[in-house]
């Protein structure tokens, strides 16, 4: 029996995996090969940049992943590899260590992503075949709740949502809180722009998250749980629903789980689009049906959470680590990583790199190793400028500091934070003032409005940044930015406000010259900010095709057919249309 797997996470489907799947289905049906070929859907293996991916597995254990597959290529792969056992060399992206994108995986260590892209996320048996739910069994029958918490504590696992609080300690607080009724919540409100690891885990291996939550519920003494998922992730919600119903049917969820006295039921709550709901007290308010606004802590949710009951909240990635830790032992987990940051961390790599996608690396690896050894370096041979980590709460780490190891404390030293694991790589064509403005406009829009400095302070900062990028910056703008940043940090209630100025502060710290160029020279060195960029036509390249003149929305381009065209910079609104349509790349920015 040969197995053909098609990557059907959101990344795969949006790249066209559904067409490939349907075509393969047709081929198997037409030739009636159901007894020979097994077609399977799978999640995301992390090579998002090569989607759609098709993997062919043979009985002898050999397996090959093909990338950027379309209907035509799928037919070829089916004809040659599936039916005749001949590898289609020119389409191979990975053949498990022999060749292809070997580097991508050689420095990775997959714990959270252990099953992603390997199993069918919609088939509970696939998960069970890979040892799924044995950790739950072990926890329920071999360990007391205290022993489970001790294992998690020894493992050194820290909250992967970004906070980095020791998970074992958090569980202990909930366990020790008095009260019969307790809750476990999985925070799947992945809102950081640039982070998609939670989506991928939920879409590719939902049972690992359920199992982690079950073990947690047993340890802290909870009977009910919620998964709070962003509504923007319809496929993740769909797969979670199926996973919950399958797990309930098999006796992993519900009453008397695995014939023990442990009961646990699970519900999905869909988020309604508010970034601040990633903050735990705001998230709880949202589940209770209110506006998702954070409140003062203490009391912490471990003492008084959902409906006032002790509640343990962890993020998707944190829960997905748990079954592995229970199965393989806390010491094995703790043997990986640095002194204070143990285990592995999943990163969503995006931006100007060759291979964007999802990776999982042991803590302690440096950012440079991730960018160059795993992600294949910067696209189009450009130079690395900075790496943005931690989303709107984080900051930009400049290229010269990219030898920093992946470690909660080391990253904080740069002014960024580990965050949930979004890593956006920026090259020399990225304007850092524009990036700061981008994050500020994000937090400004998402501020819930409860704290004055967060609500109005971020608005004022955004106004200043907008002014600077439009060439209207003033001398006192930089001191004003610093002053506002300090006040917003100290006078905001929750993490959203307290960290909102970070993207501005890190760019000011490392890229002050760029701010100065905008303010004093009225220039955008990266040629990004439209108001400071001039579009020019290279007379040597222009063939006078007139396309640019026809497409210019303001009639700023003149020139006769077959003659060199000219842009009137007075009329030009820097929309970039001419550059986009020019067939000869004759338009450039100055």
């Amino acid at each position: 029996m040969k197995t053909v797997l098609v990557g059907m996470a959101t990344c795969g489907i949006s790249a066209g995996a559904e067409k490939v799947w349907n075509h393969l289905l047709k081929l198997v049906e037409e030739k009636n090969l159901w007894s020979e070929v097994k077609l399977e859907k799978t999640g995301c293996i992390g090579m998002c940049y090569k989607e759609p991916l098709v993997e062919v597995r043979h009985d002898d254990g050999s397996k090959t992943i093909y990338g950027e597959v379309d209907v035509e290529k799928a037919a070829k792969i089916f004809e040659l590899d599936v039916l005749k056992g001949k590898t289609v060399e020119d389409l191979v992206v990975y053949d498990y260590g022999k060749k292809g994108e070997a580097d991508l995986f050689s420095k990775q260590k997959r714990i959270v992503l252990r099953n992603c892209g390997i199993i069918n996320p919609e088939d509970i048996d696939d998960y069970i075949d890979k040892g799924g739910y044995t950790a739950l069994e072990k926890a329920l029958f071999d360990y007391t709740p205290e022993q489970v918490i001790e294992e998690v504590t020894i493992s050194g696992l820290r909250g992967r949502g970004g906070g980095g609080f020791p998970t074992g300690k958090k569980w202990m607080f909930t366990k020790m809180s008095p009260g019969e009724k307790k809750y476990v919540i999985c925070n799947a409100d992945e809102g950081d722009p640039g982070a998609f690891m939670d989506r991928s885990v939920l879409e590719s291996d939902p049972h690992s998250v359920l199992e982690g939550m079950l073990i947690c519920a047993y340890a802290v003494g909870a009977q009910e749980g919620y998964i709070y998922v962003r509504a923007e992730y319809p496929r993740a919600i769909e797969r979670l629903k199926k996973a919950i119903s399958d797990a309930t049917e098999r006796g992993y969820l519900g009453n008397n789980i695995l014939k023990s006295s442990f009961n646990f039921s699970l519900k999905i709550k869909e988020g309604a689009g508010a970034f601040v709901c990633g903050e735990e007290t705001a998230l709880i308010a949202s589940i209770e049906g209110k506006r998702g606004m954070p409140r003062v802590r203490p009391p912490f949710p471990a003492v008084s959470g959902l409906w006032g009951k002790p509640t343990n909240i962890n993020n998707v990635e944190t829960f997905a680590n748990i079954p592995w830790i229970i199965t393989n032992g806390a010491l094995k987990f703790a043997s990986m990583g640095t002194e204070k940051s143990k285990g592995t961390k999943v990163f969503a790599l995006a931006g100007k790199i060759e291979r964007s996608g999802l990776i999982e690396v042991p803590m302690g690896l440096t950012i440079n190793e991730i960018i160059y050894d795993i992600a294949g370096g910067i696209k189009n041979g450009k130079k690395l400028k900075a790496v943005q980590m931690g989303g709107p709460s984080g900051g930009c780490i400049p290229a010269e500091l990219c030898d920093t190891p992946i470690d909660y404390e080391e990253i904080v030293k740069t002014g960024a934070i580990m965050g949930s694991g979004g890593m956006i790589v920026m090259d020399e064509e990225t304007c850092m003032v524009d990036v700061a403005k981008f994050f500020l406009s994000f937090t400004q829009k998402e501020s819930c409005g409860k704290c004055t400095f967060c609500r109005i302070g971020t608005k004022r900062m955004l106004e200043i940044l907008t002014r600077i990028t439009e060439g209207r910056g003033e001398e006192e703008d930089i001191p004003k930015l610093y002053e506002l940043a300090e006040k917003i940090k100290s006078a905001s209630l929750c993490g959203l406000g307290q960290t909102a100025p970070n993207p501005v502060l890190t760019t000011l710290k490392y890229f002050l010259d760029e701010y100065k160029a905008h303010i004093y020279d009225k220039k955008c060195p990266a040629k990004v900010c439209p108001a400071l960029v001039k579009y020019v036509i290279d007379p040597d390249k222009c063939i006078g095709c007139t396309i640019c003149a026809k497409k210019c929305p303001v009639g700023a381009i003149s020139g006769a057919p077959k003659k060199v065209h000219v842009i009137d910079s007075e009329k030009c609104i820097s929309c970039g249309k001419c550059m986009e349509v020019c067939p000869k790349d004759a338009v450039y920015k100055e």
Binding site: C11, P193, G194, R199, E232, K269, G289, G351, S356
Partner: protein, 164 residues
Amino acid sequence: MVSSSKEIKDELFSRKLRKYGNERGAVIPLLQAAQEIYSYVPKEVISMISEATKIPQSSIYGVVTFYKQFRLKPVGKHIIKVCQGTACHVNGANEIMKAVEEHLNVKEDENTDDGLFTLQSVACLGCCSLSPAVMIDDETYGKLTPDSIRGILDSYRKNEGEKK
């Protein structure tokens, strides 16, 4: 025709209300259900939820206006969400947004004149490796250029034309 489909929708929502109305924290799921049925949150729904849950209408309006998901006005047949995430931003999300605006002659949070599309922006679709990305209804499109998004929009229009 129109009235009967409204009746069906009302009945659908009443069922949801009977099922969840008494549950704690039901307001948001009920609003989500209403939006799924009507494509927006009609005023009458808010008073119905208020009656069933005994929560004042003012609080429910507070919830509706807090979350980005909810709309108090009807939307077009297809909702276009242009991703504004970091990766999309550095890879040209602005150009994509501009292309959509120009091509459909519509601004953010508005409907097209033919009622076919509603344009929105979204913080991040989590498809960063395919940036810039756009979601139309539940379908995600990645690695877009201004040209390719125009083509995609045209294909939606074409499909609608054929249906007619």
